[in-house]
């Protein structure tokens, strides 16, 4: 669908063009008729002047020239002409006509005749002519003509002036339309930015800060975000409940089988099958969790709060094993991950590091230059050979079966980190000599002060 801005701008421009074209046509037609009327009026005045002159001085051209004293009639081909003819055929004309003569209308109409004729040098002229009877009873055909050139020039100037004025009006109008569109659409732009910003946060959008036309949409978005979070929470809880319901019976079966095993019964195949069942369950739940994050919206976790919890927990676990655990992290970091997912990643990786370390595990978290959250977990264990690193992140690939576990920890962490658009890299730790796990996790903007 076309954008609202494009629709508003196109609509505004089309409307403006229609108004401008109509306005231009109307105004132009009115001003042309006004100019024409004024031109004719001037010509009629000249004709009246000529008629008066003929009435008083019909004897000779010289007398008439003197009587019709306008200088424009003296200059050859000036564009202003008069011509007087007696009913007997004598013709008197203004010196501006030189040798040329104005054609007499074919019509024998005694009244006022106005027509366009060709003058000297194919000049376009507007001519007014009339038969008048003077005091001595003689009839005279009095004709004045004026070049249309000046009229046309005036028309061109008028048209140009109008076009310039309307172009300016159009420009201002389009600017105005764009500004208006921007102002009108501003709440929608704000909504878009807010939605993409708040998507990362727990808070809903503030309905009061939007115009009433947009408020219902904002409400709907809030409901949608809340529903999305609800669905995620519910499915997580169901998965956890299911895991809980299956694991206790599984533990009972395992104990019974182990007792039978100790008693010399042939139960190894059953124990293996139970191992596969447990591993499959763990993998499936981990997969459900990672897949569920695709629909996760509006989540963010305070890294220092969460790592504080992990630090206390793993310090206790490290003490149990006579190892040391240290954590250094910047304050006020926020990661765009659900807290339980973040802790799942950290728990699995720290548990692995603790299991493999000889005596020491270190955790560091800081904000990277590109704004991501950088977390490193390093241990002083045997590490992973380069060629095994890819295999290590694959689900269920146990590199060393001498340690207890399902070999899923690293794969679970890997899947979750990727599901959130983060990155996880394995290398040898330069300081401790064991495995170093480097993560880059998406940054979440600061929580709103309210």
């Amino acid at each position: 669908m076309t954008s609202l801005r494009a629709r508003a701008v196109t609509g505004g421009i089309l409307w403006a063009v229609a108004i401008i074209v109509l306005g231009l046509a109307g105004l132009s037609s009115y001003l042309t008729s006004q100019t024409q009327a004024r031109f004719v009026e001037v010509l009629e005045t000249r004709h009246a002047q000529a008629v008066v002159a003929v009435s008083n001085n019909s004897s000779s051209t010289q007398d008439l020239v003197r009587a019709i004293g306008d200088l424009a009639y003296q200059v050859p081909n000036s564009g202003q002409y008069w011509q007087v003819e007696s009913d007997e055929g004598a013709i008197f004309a203004s010196p501006s006509l030189v040798e040329a003569r104005l054609p007499r209308p074919r019509s024998q109409n005694q009244g006022f005749i106005r027509r366009e004729i060709a003058g000297p040098g194919e000049q376009g002229l507007l001519a007014i002519s009339q038969w008048v009877t003077v005091k001595d009873g003689s009839m005279w055909h009095v004709q004045v003509a004026s070049s249309l050139e000046s009229f046309e020039e005036e028309q061109v100037i008028l048209r140009n002036t109008l076009l310039t004025a309307f172009a300016f009006v159009s420009f201002v109008g389009v600017l105005g339309a764009l500004t208006q569109v921007a102002v009108v659409l501003q709440p929608l732009n704000k909504l878009r930015q807010d939605v993409s910003g708040r998507w990362e946060q727990e808070d809903g959008l503030e309905v009061e800060s939007y115009p009433i036309e947009v408020a219902p949409l904002v409400n709907d978005i809030n409901t949608l975000m809340e529903r999305n979070r609800d669905i995620m929470r519910r499915s997580r809880r169901q998965a956890a409940d299911l895991a809980h319901a299956i694991k206790t019976p599984s533990a009972i079966m395992r104990n019974e089988l182990e007792n039978l095993d100790l008693g010399g019964a042939e139960v190894q195949e059953a124990i293996d099958a139970l191992d596969r069942l447990d591993a499959q369950l763990k993998r499936s739940f981990a997969r459900m969790r990672a897949d569920g994050t695709d629909a996760t919206v509006g989540v963010a976790t305070d890294v220092d709060t969460s790592l504080g919890r992990m630090q206390r927990a793993f310090t206790a676990l490290a003490r149990n094993e006579g190892k040391s655990f240290s954590a250094a992290y910047e304050q006020n970091l926020r990661v765009r991950m659900d807290q339980s997912d973040f802790e799942e990643v950290m728990g699995n990786l720290l548990d692995n590091a603790m299991k493999w370390s000889a005596s020491e595990v270190r955790l560091e978290a800081s904000e990277a230059a590109d704004g991501k959250i950088k977390i490193t977990i390093a241990d002083d264990g045997p590490g992973i050979p380069k060629e095994e690193i890819t295999k290590a992140t694959q689900s269920g690939q146990r590199l060393d079966t001498s340690m207890p576990g399902t070999g899923l920890g690293l794969a679970i962490a890997h899947d979750l980190v990727h599901a959130y658009g983060g990155k996880i890299l394995l290398s040898k730790d330069e300081k401790l000599g064991g495995l170093a796990i480097h993560m880059r996790l998406p940054f979440a903007s600061a929580k709103r002060a309210d």
Partner: protein, 220 residues
């Protein structure tokens, strides 16, 4: 050594009790959170194995209540949930260790023994006093390298005294730590067990402080 198992699944609780009892530990079972908290507050347990998914009062609340009441018994949490958040919640609330279901019974008893040992400030699993050695992993007692045959009550008394070596332990305390909650506690029988231990392991292993109790001095 007395252990409280707080587990609502009766079959699993029975299996746990059977395994730990067979290792010379005295085991009580609580089937819900309220009972677990009551027993934890009133009985002197050496370790509490606490399932987080208990009815009536969940394990995490029980753990927090015990810790806020000043109880510092070693607590091992059991969880069937996959979430690390659950485990971290438990450890952060003061649990000493965790185990996720399904677990190997051998792992659980090893963890429990390690917790008892740590509480006693001991890092190795074998106690030694002169010619006598006591292996907490197998409950094997040897004198000059010769294995001795002890009853489970004798092992329970010896184990408690070794884990508290250097400290005077009263008869009442001993009986509290070797008899079950609803068992028949007769502190006179303690004297009988101690006498038998002296006969089997030598008379100078356990010293009697008349009218006050017993002590194993300077065990390593």
């Amino acid at each position: 050594m007395r252990i409280l198992i707080a587990e609502d699944e009766p079959v699993l609780a029975g299996q746990l009790k059977k395994t730990l009892s067979s290792e010379g530990l005295t085991v009580d079972v609580a089937v819900d959170g309220a009972e677990a908290q009551y027993l934890g507050e009133t009985e002197p347990y050496d370790v509490i194995v606490l399932d987080l998914g208990l009815p009536i009062r969940d394990g995490l609340t029980v753990l927090k209540n015990l810790r806020s009441g000043g109880n510092d018994t070693a607590i091992l949490i059991l969880t069937a949930r996959n979430d690390w958040t659950d485990r971290v919640d438990g450890l952060d609330a003061g649990a000493d260790d965790y185990l996720t279901k399904p677990f190997h019974m051998a792992e659980l008893s090893a963890r429990v023994r390690a917790m008892i040992r740590r509480k006693a400030g001991k890092s190795t699993p074998v106690f030694t006093k002169d010619a006598v050695t006591f292996d907490t992993r197998t409950n094997q007692v040897m004198v000059d390298g010769i294995p001795m045959n002890l009853t489970s009550q004798e092992i329970a008394v010896l184990s408690y005294l070794f884990h508290n070596s250097g400290r005077l332990v009263s008869r009442a305390e001993l009986s509290e730590h070797i008899y079950e909650h609803d068992g028949d506690r007769d502190s006179n029988t303690i004297a009988v067990f101690v006498n038998r231990l002296r006969k089997k392991l030598g008379s100078d292993l356990i010293e009697t402080v008349r009218g006050r109790g017993y002590v194993i001095k300077a065990a390593t």
